[in-house]
């Protein structure tokens, strides 16, 4: 192919090409330690674009840590995490080397990723609308009307349009979590991280939130990474289930196989304990 002299090296397209060829998320020999305590031990796994992946495993096995590393709420100890082919915590240094990412680079990469927390973490000093529009306006630069329209659509989706001016303290846990989901989606993330988003809810409020997530899984192309103890839900929405233990993925596969016919004894034990 002749080279077009007018065509500048297009880093964005190149990045997308690698995505098309490779994986949206890639953990490459990732180690995470707290002091001497090794939480993730040379972890390797990949997630394809558009997939819904569920992480299961005993408490303390490092599931939350994986999501927090992806959200850059924690620093990686060793290895590399790639999102869309770009290293999450490293940026290009001189001569093709990698150096630790600065704050600005991290914010750029982070924009692709949204997270919903176990404890909702809505901003109590803002009403529902402000919670949802703050980041689209101040980070993405949407004008207010546009952001409010987007928020309105999302509130319709989560079924809370009438709570638009309510403050978080005036909402039930389930409602707060649905607002938190709307807030994350308002950034139009490519990846949505969900960390046990129903485990702080009263039992009767769990179903509403899970139904919403099912709908999101089935109607959007967002890649979802989901930590949950709700095995029925995991079975419904996942394309792939990763079973964690001791800082590693000990087994992975489609939900029918992991739940129906696990290979590992450890997985069987875990499932019989939680089911």
């Amino acid at each position: 192919m002749a080279t077009d002299p007018l065509q500048k090296p297009d880093t964005e397209h190149r990045a997308q090409d690698t995505v098309a060829a490779g994986h949206l998320i890639e953990f490459d020999q990732v180690v995470k330690r707290y002091g001497d305590h090794v939480v993730l031990d040379h972890l390797d796994f990949t997630v394809e674009r558009g997939r819904h992946v569920t992480l299961i495993g005993p408490s303390g096995s490092g599931k939350t840590t994986i999501l927090r590393l992806l959200m850059t709420l924690e620093r990686i100890s060793e290895g590399l995490i790639l999102v869309g082919g770009r290293p999450l915590s490293h940026m290009a240094g001189p001569n093709g080397s990698l150096k630790p990412a600065d704050e600005k680079y991290q914010r750029e990469v982070r924009k692709k990723i949204g997270m919903v927390f176990q404890q909702f973490n809505l901003f109590p000093n803002m009403n529902v609308l402000q919670n949802i529009t703050e980041a689209p306006v101040s980070v993405l630069g949407l004008d207010r009307a546009e952001a409010e329209e987007r928020a309105g659509e999302l509130l319709d989706m989560v079924g809370l349009r009438e709570k638009i001016t309510a403050h978080p303290t005036q909402l039930s846990g389930g409602q707060q979590q649905r607002v938190a989901i709307a807030r994350a989606l308002a950034m139009r993330p490519e990846i949505l991280l969900l960390d046990e988003v129903t485990s702080a809810l009263d039992p009767e409020l769990v179903a509403g939130v899970l139904d919403l997530l099912r709908e999101i899984a089935h109607t959007t192309d967002i890649t979802m990474l989901c930590v949950t103890h709700e095995m029925g839900f995991a079975r419904d929405i996942s394309d792939q289930v990763l079973m964690f233990d001791g800082g590693r993925v000990i087994e992975s596969g489609p939900p029918e196989r992991i739940f129906g016919d696990p290979e590992q004894e450890r997985t069987r034990e875990f499932l019989s304990a939680v089911l």
């Binding site: 704050e103 949204g114 927390f117 973490n121 901003f123 101040s138 950034m187």
Partner: protein, 214 residues
Amino acid sequence: MNYTWDWGAMRQALPLLLTGFETTLLATVLGILVAAVLGLVVAMLGRAPTRLVTIPVRAVTEFVRSTPLLVQLVGAYAVFNTVRPLTIGIAVLGIHYASYLSEVYRAGIDAVPRGQWEACRALSLSPRRTWQAVILPQAVRNVLPALGNYGISMFKETPFLAVITVTEMVAQAREYGANHFVYAETFTLAGLIFLVASYPTSLLMRKLEKRLGH
């Protein structure tokens, strides 16, 4: 000894004391404003990532906190002898209380749950928006009750300003009392005015605290 209480003197001194009270009020309101703003600045500087900032900031606040207000007033009055005494008084009150309030702000900022910071990061908010839109509004809410209490105690310390020739209410009471030999009456009156002004204020603060859910 038989002292006859002079009610008439109290009535006559009242207008004079009220002019002094205006100065007292002005010094308190402006002083607490200076303290509120400066205290916040100090608290934020105390969280700077470099010790080149945090150590001097801590040294200065420690110094201000551990020397008496009276000494600071007289010292500042001696050094800045061309500045209006009332201005010096307001500045010294403001700085003195800022050193206490910075601690309150620090605690107020620390009391904002970690999840709030993490939500800001997850939404890619800039550091500026994180502080402005999320952290400070919540921290200030934590700080408001203490701000009220410090305001009331500053109010009661304004008589020190008399030492640097500011004629606030107690200075007026002393002058009138000395001229008419009615010290007890005028000082009682000054005390009553303090009571009448600060008691409802503290009730109001308590109400506010309740409403904020503390």
